[in-house]
Subunit: 767 residues, 2 copies
């Protein structure tokens, strides 16, 4: 409909939030200063499992500057939790992991609050702790939660005829893979300022991925009506799943504000954030695949033992994704899963970028490479042979509206020089060996799992100067939601990007939104923005049509004006029409609300049917160098091909892809949460080794624009898919380089050396 | 539609803002503290007319703590003003009144800012000042504004045959009345906090009667796009017209924020507020009325000379009201007006509660009493005989949908004991004489004068707990707009008042609204709230209808639930339906926008036609005691009968009526802005004597519920009409007590004594 070419769709543009961020003007929760503000700090359990015998807060309360000390006795009786309501804001009676919130202090300075923590006397009776899933699943093991066994969640399904599939297979291979927990590692730790407004409502300004869900959870945990709480999103410096619904940071801040009646800021330092955040779900995956002679997968059987830690949170959903999502990437009709989520007395695990896909895709991609070797095939051919096609319906009923999987595989492997380098690697000599590997992945764009709605609502308001405000409750956590919404509305109304402005999410004034999860914002929010922008345009057209007595069909919008298709000089600027819309008989401002919901289904216990409006695909190829003397793996080159449907803002997607790639490198090679007796030993960035610039090569990548029929202008989610193939691509490259298969992440030098030693010993024994 | 009886409509209820206010929690502009906030102060001209030769700000800038000093040279070139764009934020070149803004300072404390003002060296060349309308209208007088004469605005109209009317009259009387300027006298002086947000937008949090108009004016004066400005209403402690569109307070704050890039608070102290505020428009009214033998008015001729001071502002609109509004109260078809608004070098005048009605109704009611004496009639009878009736169309085309004027007159005069006391007063002796007087008045409820829209838009949002948020841009300045909106929506949805919450006006998120003026909020905002609430209810009904497969017609709402009329046990709470509305396939939050616009006309130069959807009427009767030795007038009793259509909240309307009555007493008897050589001499509450409790008797009053067909539940505006009859009722009572007619307000002891002396001398001469 737009007629000039000012649209930024598909152009490399800076994020609309960039200027405020690089100038240091963006207001993160930790930047907020409110008159009379107190500072909150949390006392955490040093024991993985203990009875709280007594808590004496008198000394802490007596410290000058301390305004409140709260314990489990002072908190509402309500339990919170995403599915299972089993957690209190502050523990009462029992602590179930080292780091669990036991007490909180509000004081006039952060230092006093910290000092006050030292003055709280907690008498614990230490109890035996269950620290591994195997201990937890022992029939004799006591329940982490009283009166229940330690299985938090269990999934079983079978489709097709798995045994017949295996029987028909040319080769069947089974192996067990172990994946570990990754800390989200956002630059900005969790932070919240909570206060009581003049009407007594609780106002919570927080770093979050979903204001709507934060409000629901605050209401539940604090036992207050939803409407008595206002949640505003502060500028959010990364989330990666960790700021979705599982942290207690804003609950503690809310509790302290309610108790003191004053504004309270609670900002985690890095150690606190390590202790408070949910890390990703560790899974032990036993995978059995059957393939025919050509590498076609004919049967899959998977057993998963996943660990949620002390509280279930979203880990059950994560495990669900591990159990079934990657099945939909292939044509194999025979699949069986048995997945068990287990409680232990360890810090909780939950949502993390990739959301269960990373775990299973590490196993699956490793397995395919291994079986390619067994069959004497190129794994690339196996991937492409099995890849589901556009228009096909997967084993679980997922409708593949678009897929660029094969193109992604081709693009990535060609970029890395697959054919030439595979040959070269095999013939390399010396202590440093090079190898290449690849992996393929799929992800959802949206996911109908919350209530029975996976849509979004966007409000578009045209001001009297012709500029536009956009209101959405979908949160920008750095991924670019605000930029995407701006681009869409600016495109539809053919306005410069600077003339549209996205207001930050605020539960009082924004439409209800599910939030930034499951790569849903571009598809759901973007489509809603199209709907709303067109409604606003129609209001302009209706007015112009009436003013000029011409049919709406003859009107066009472009260059900041509405004009007649046949007589472009007959025009009125959007500003003029917006003013006229208000200041006329029967007037009102142009403010419209557009909603869009995916045509998908919510799973019942059959877990069958199309849950997402679109599916993203990616492939990655890497080249590594393995130092056989030290075991060190270095990534020399990496190329990610991302099927994001349509790259609305290529530079933003490259940023997401590169960030995901590096996060995958960290998971694959470096990062590991070290627990000793249930206690985290490396909760800081010196000891928890995220990849730094020297560990990352110049990252390369490209898009495959598969143009999804449900996507806004064809676009699909583009923030998560790229994290999925990194770890298995590296594992496969390590195997390619030195012939050892590391099945337990991370691929540390110690494991590589041990594997090389074991292989040499095996070779000796074989010789 | 509501079926239970929890509605507060018509009940005495506290304002929804009361709790926050009495607990000291309400946040007025002066309460706002923002990190890094500066304090602004304004340097004002000491001369009524002078050339600014030079301004040296170097010393002020050098004072530690001073962050900016701005003068007319630093401000945008744009002129601002309501109709005539003729004012700068800070004067450049010339000052035109004593008190005009010349420079402004932003400093780290208010004290430093004040000290810095003393260090600004302004060299003025004083110029001859025009201080009275008569001087201004002298043909030789130079123009207050260069290149123009001193007539800011002129109105002339005639309808019917005025000369024929006078020719047919039994008695014709002409007199001249003088009315003076009244300072709005709100408890909270003007205050603003302005800041630049992370995106560079200007955020202005201010005490105002209209956020929409404040934003438009800021945009014009600061030469910024409307969308780059966000105006939020702080809790507002009274406005009375003074916080509508004519003060520079938020412009100065905005300018200093732009200049410094930091938050700046500018809160007037009382003297500054006296200097900065527009006071009401002084008018000299020469009124000529012809009446037939029975007191029926057959012709009216009026000449008005009104003074706007140095800048026109809204004074032209005020004078317009004086010139014609009261004509519509009577059946007289022959009216002529000639009104002239004049510039002088004095502080500007403008909007004030009653908006021109007070001035003309003082003259008219005084005149009717005098002529009643000439005809030997009771003025009450003259008022009732002339009163326009329901369903009639006035001389100016106003359609009287409802009127309780005659009932108001009866109620007020009966309450005061008219018949008995009139007789008694005439026979009283001794130095203290008692007398009674009455007056009648009309006012608009809404007024189509801005653009061509006099409507309102209300957003209603039903949250997942069944509680409701209301968004409106109409400002509560203390008159109770938020309470009224809450009552309407709670009534429509049959919810407890505590379950609805009005969000404060904010141009970013509220619908566009004209604001609190012309007694328009109850009729426009109230009707829009009904529309929006019913739209929200229809969404609940549509959902229940679909869920239960029943026709919408069978559904009822009541007691927080939707249920079947025939089977009330078949029910779902509003909360359940609201949640279902979101969390279903195709879901979204219930958030609707309802608009209502009056079926009225915008005047062209014929100034004919129905400008308001409804008209309010009032009558007041007072008893006074006049001390003939001191001239002191004491009001002993007062009764105001108010035709507000329907008293939605009687206690709130009583509060408004009583406040208006006291403000009228102040204007009639005590308050006077004392200028000496153009300079205000009494800009404080010690010397500017507003009535205090000892000057006010127990105020009495009652309603006449005329049930207007256009009003929400019959209601009309109820905040302004009651100020109109006070002054003439007192003047008439003084005449009744001691036989002297004071035609120039205020009725000071000096004037009474002088009049008594003059009468005695006249009597001596006559004897």
């Amino acid at each position: 409909m737009a007629t000039t070419n000012r649209s930024t769709l598909g152009a490399h543009i800076p994020q609309v939030t960039a200027r405020a961020k690089v100038l240091g003007r963006a207001v993160y929760a930790g930047d907020i200063k409110v008159a009379g503000m107190l500072h909150g700090k949390v006392l955490r359990s040093p024991y993985p499992h203990a009875r709280i015998v007594s808590i004496d807060t008198s000394e802490a309360l007596a410290l000058p500057g301390v305004k409140a000390v709260v314990t489990g006795m002072d908190t509402p009786r309500a339990m919170w939790g995403v599915h299972r309501k089993e957690r209190r804001i502050l523990a009462e009676g029992v602590v179930r992991f080292a780091g669990e919130e036991v007490a909180a202090v509000a004081a006039t300075t952060e230092e006093i609050a910290r000092d006050a923590l030292d003055l709280i006397r907690v008498e614990y009776e230490e109890l035996p702790a269950i620290l591994t899933p195997d201990e937890a699943l022992d029939e004799e093991a006591p329940g982490v939660h009283p009166g229940r066994d330690n299985v938090a969640h269990e999934i079983r399904f079978e489709r097709g005829d798995v045994e017949a599939g295996f029987a028909s297979a040319h080769v069947v291979h089974e192996a067990t893979y172990e994946t570990h927990a990754q800390y989200p590692g956002y630059l900005e730790p969790m932070g919240t300022v909570a206060s009581i407004d003049p009407e007594g409502r609780l106002v919570v300004w927080t770093s979050t991925q979903s204001v709507t869900q934060a409000r629901l959870r605050l209401a539940a945990a604090l036992e207050r009506p939803v409407s008595s709480i206002r949640v505003r999103q502060a500028t959010t410096g990364g989330g990666f799943g960790g700021k979705l619904v599982e942290d207690a940071n804003n609950l503690v801040a809310g509790l302290l504000a309610v108790k003191t009646g004053r504004p309270v800021r609670v900002v985690n330092n890095r150690l606190e954030d390590f202790q408070a955040a949910c890390s990703s779900v560790p899974e032990r995956i036993t995978l059995r695949l059957g393939m025919d002679r050509d590498g076609l997968i004919v049967a899959k059987d998977v057993r998963i033992v996943a660990e949620c830690g002390a509280y279930c949170g979203l880990a059950s959903e994560v495990m669900h994704v591990s159990a079934m999502r990657s099945d939909n990437m292939h044509r194999n009709p025979n699949v069986r899963s048995h997945a068990t989520l287990v409680y232990t007395h360890t810090p909780p695990h939950g949502a993390f970028r990739g959301f269960g896909g990373t775990q299973m895709l590490f196993a699956l991609n490793s397995h395919i490479h291994t079986m390619a070797g067994m069959l004497g095939l190129d794994p690339v051919d196996i991937h492409k042979r099995n890849a589901i096609g556009q228009g096909e319906v997967s084993v679980h009923g997922w409708q593949i509206g678009s897929t660029g999987l094969v193109e992604c595989i081709d693009q990535a492997t060609e970029a890395i020089g697959w054919q030439a380098k595979r040959a070269a690697a095999r013939s390399s000599t010396g202590p440093k060996r090079r190898g290449i590997g690849m992996a393929a992945a799929m992800h959802v764009s949206g996911n109908r799992t919350i209530g029975n709605w996976d849509g979004s609502t966007v409000v578009v308001k045209i001001n009297e100067d012709g500029r536009v405000f956009i209101q959405s409750g979908e949160c920008d956590m750095g991924q670019g939601a605000m930029t995407m919404l701006s681009q869409v509305v600016a495109h539809e109304l053919d306005l410069p990007l600077a003339h549209v402005h996205v207001l930050p999410p605020d539960t009082d004034t924004s439409p209800i939104a599910i939030g930034s999860l499951a790569s849903r914002v571009t598809i759901a929010g973007g489509n809603a923005a199209i709907v709303a922008a067109r409604m606003a345009r129609d209001k302009l057209f209706a007015l112009a049509s009436r003013q000029w007595s011409v049919p709406v069909e003859q009107l066009r919008i472009g260059d900041g004006a509405v004009f007649l298709a046949d007589a472009p000089d007959r025009r009125a600027t959007i500003a003029e029409l917006a003013r006229l819309h208000v200041w006329r008989d029967g007037g009102e401002g142009i403010q419209v609300s557009g909603s869009w919901d995916a045509k998908t289904v919510m799973h019942d216990d059959k877990v069958y049917g199309n849950i997402a409006p679109a599916y993203s695909f990616a492939a990655q190829a890497v080249e590594v160098e393995v130092d056989t003397e030290t075991g060190q793996v270095t990534v020399l080159d990496s190329y990610v091909a991302d099927d994001c449907g349509k790259a609305l803002n290529p530079v933003a997607i490259h940023g997401q892809t590169n960030g995901a790639t590096v996060q995958a490198f960290g998971w694959a090679l470096y990062e590991q949460m070290q627990l000793d007796g249930g206690r985290l030993m490396n909760g800081n960035f010196a000891d928890y080794t995220m990849p730094t610039a020297d560990a990352v090569p110049m990252l390369r990548g490209g898009f495959v624009e598969s143009n999804d029929p449900n996507g806004p202008y064809g676009a699909k989610g583009a923030s998560e898919t790229a994290i999925l193939p990194g770890a298995p691509a590296i594992a496969n490259a390590v195997f390619d380089a030195v012939g050892v298969r590391i099945t337990a992440l991370p691929i540390t030098p110690e494991k590589v050396l041990a594997a090389l030693r074991a292989r040499r010993e095996q070779e000796k024994r074989d010789a």
